[in-house]
């Protein structure tokens, strides 16, 4: 029995925190949020130089050859810093899709650029309002050309490469689309969290090649989302932990009725609840990261668990953060809204927590492996 990260892994996390404490202050997030800058290019470059973008990528493709246990801890720090970079889209989704399903040639073509940060990848599946089923897509591949529209696509305005789910004959396939090619149009969309940009991608006969097995797109997309949910879960927990830390500091220093407001049980107990929610999410994350790194079938349930717990925990923390700051928490000048926006954005990026609850029950009904564990 060992549900802990190794000393080496913890050391990597500590390094990541130190780097981001210096290079990704909340001012960096605010800078991107308040300007037309789509993401912090300086930070992206730095993160790439640190080797984080290829943490789970073998060295032969330009990565550092570590693994997912190291990657989730870096993700937690990226979340803690509210880093305004396309980390989740490029690393958890595009890079991960190539690692899982790419041919040797595709990996060689794309992974080195993704690891070095010269290229940014994203994932484009959703077309409709709500939480559509995976097969509710109209985008279609025909004769190697993709047509259709994907909206919204996180980081779609800055990505060079998209992993796209589309109809392929009677079935569906995951596709690789070079967004610099012809037949691709991007339209920027106003983002709820402007520190992470979003776009509409319109394909009109764009060149596309199948990623993985033709006709196997739904199963691949489902597996990809499970894997991404674990990594993003750590990013969410990181943000949520930071929200609690900032709230704790503020309430310790703010006096009312002659005492720090952090001494009132009305606040103490709610901060204890925030802590508990973070721990429940983190523990689910630990287990899921083990399943992710070992390829264990437990991942099907564990990914849902961490997705639900981490989404709820971060949203709770961000809401309570504003409430406990009082009036100033509601101002543009204070940083609370950075958390409030990011919590919602990440909580919806892979589909809502409600949709993942439904997915969890479906899998339990289907007798997913390890239900009794």
């Amino acid at each position: 029995m060992n549900l802990e990260f190794s000393e080496d892994q913890q050391f990597i996390q500590k390094n990541a925190r130190e780097y981001l404490t210096e290079h990704a202050t909340l001012d960096v997030c605010r800078r991107v949020l308040e300007s037309d800058e789509p993401y912090a290019q300086d930070l992206w470059k730095g993160v790439a130089e640190m080797g984080w973008l290829g943490t789970a990528v073998p060295e032969e493709y330009g990565g550092t050859g570590l693994g997912h246990l190291e990657l989730v801890l870096i993700a937690q720090e990226v979340g803690r810093a509210l880093a305004p970079i396309p980390f989740s889209s490029s690393v958890y989704l595009a890079t991960e899709a190539l690692l899982q399903f790419g041919s040797e040639e595709q990996k060689k073509q794309w992974l080195p650029g993704l690891c070095s940060g010269e290229r940014i990848g994203t994932y484009a599946a959703v077309e409709k309002l709500g939480d559509p089923e995976l097969d509710e897509v109209d985008a279609v591949l025909s004769g190697g050309k993709l047509s259709g529209e994907k909206v919204p696509v996180l980081d779609g305005d800055v990505a060079n490469l998209a992993v796209v789910l589309a109809k392929d004959g009677e079935a569906y396939s995951l596709l690789l689309v070079d967004l610099a090619g012809s037949g691709v149009r991007r339209t920027n969309l106003e983002s709820f969290d402007p520190s992470r940009s979003q776009a509409r991608l319109t394909f009109d006969g764009a060149d596309a090649e199948v990623l993985g097995k033709a006709g196997n797109g739904i199963a691949q997309a489902e597996a990809l989302l499970d894997r991404a949910a674990v990594m993003m879960g750590f990013e969410q927990v990181g943000g949520s932990e930071r929200a609690l830390d900032v709230t704790r500091e503020y309430t310790m220093g703010r006096y009312a009725f002659g005492r720090p407001i952090a001494s009132f049980q009305a606040l103490k107990h709610r901060m204890a609840d925030m802590y508990a929610a973070n721990q429940i999410a983190l523990s689910n994350g630990y287990y899921a990261s083990w399943a992710l790194s070992t390829g264990n079938a437990e991942l099907a349930l564990a990914a849902c668990n961490v997705r639900v717990a981490a989404s709820d925990a971060f949203v709770l923390a961000a809401e309570e953060m504003i409430q406990m700051h009082g009036g100033v928490g509601y101002t543009w000048e204070f940083d609370c809204h950075l958390f409030y926006r990011r919590a919602k954005l990440l909580g919806l990026a892979l589909g809502s927590a409600s949709a993942w609850r439904e997915k969890l029950i479906r899998r339990l009904e289907a007798g997913a492996a390890g239900a009794a564990a």
Binding site: M252, K268, Y286
Partner: protein, 414 residues
Amino acid sequence: MNFEDTPEEAEFRSRVRAWLGANAKPRDANSASNPLGERETDEMIADAKAWQSKKFDEGWACLTWPKEFGGQGLGRMESVIWGQEEGKFDVPPNVYQIGHGMLGPTIMAHGTQEQKDKYVRQMARGQEIWCQLFSEPAAGSDLAGLRTTAVRDGDDWVINGQKIWSTGAHYCDWGMIVTRTDPDAPKHKGLTYFIIDMRSEGVEARPIKQISGAAGFNEVFFTDVRVPDSNRLGEVGTGWMVALTTLMNERVAIGSGGAGGGFHRLLDLAKRSRRNGKSALEDSAVRQQLADFYVTSKGLQYTGYRTLSAILRGDTPGPEGAIGKAVGAPMMQQMASFAQDLQGTAGALLDKDVAGDDSTWQELYLGAPGMRIAGGTDEVLRNIIAERVLGLPAEIRVDKGKPFREIPTGPQKD
């Protein structure tokens, strides 16, 4: 990270299974465990003693205790494996949780050599059962406000007062009691801890009927009960420190349990119950709620794994462990309430045949408020997390530093 047994653990597990298989019957996987506070019958007590005696004689009792005290000198992991495997068998109720989980470790930590020799091994054999005498009618969450007195008289102490919520006090042979020996000292300073023979003259245990109708708890009255000084545990005036050892072990004992067992029964109930003209399991509100229970119970289970991993590495469990009970106990109440809702109008029955599931959900709902109170209320646990994990300011203590006898205890007149 690794969840596989090591070869040594796997070998130990198979020996445990073999012994249990030869000595007990497998448990029906669908049976619910006894809700909190059921009153054990004489027959159940006799069965429990027989089972413990067998375990002791054949080397399966108190695995983590040193051999000289009747244990097996094994590690925490072996103890966990034993618990996992024994849980699959239909064995008598565990009436030793308080003795083995909390009191034995307290004697080993604070007792004299004579006390250890006299009591600990006997406790492991289990032919005598122990109870805890801490809470009082006016001292619950504020345990240090207790008022039962012990006054020195020659080689003895004379105890007077009342304890309450003492599980099993009516069948126990020995108790561990915290008393006030110096009312002029501040409240945490004037306490002393004793081992007490529950058959002594002047000890009277009366059952308390709970809202469930069961009576597992007692109020215990002490009238001029004489306890020899040789039964004092720790120095005079250090009772609070000794009591903290007991309470720390209580949270470890409680925290190692999981709330996950009920989930699959709840899923099954949803499948069988009707709503909107179909199975309730097809109702999205039901599905969302079930998912939340699953996510939380798994989160608690894995939090327990993390705690266990830290203990195996040599860490002492910290105040973080409070979340197991702070989250788990209210969730059990919510699950029970939700199960009754699933049963619809039949959920308001206690009739085992009509309501189904042997009305275990009804029993659980009646027992659940106790889980949120016993061994640290929801509120006390949140204070522990807030103060000792998050480092938030402690409660303002208006009684701090005051001699105990000057501390107000009820509504004050102007």
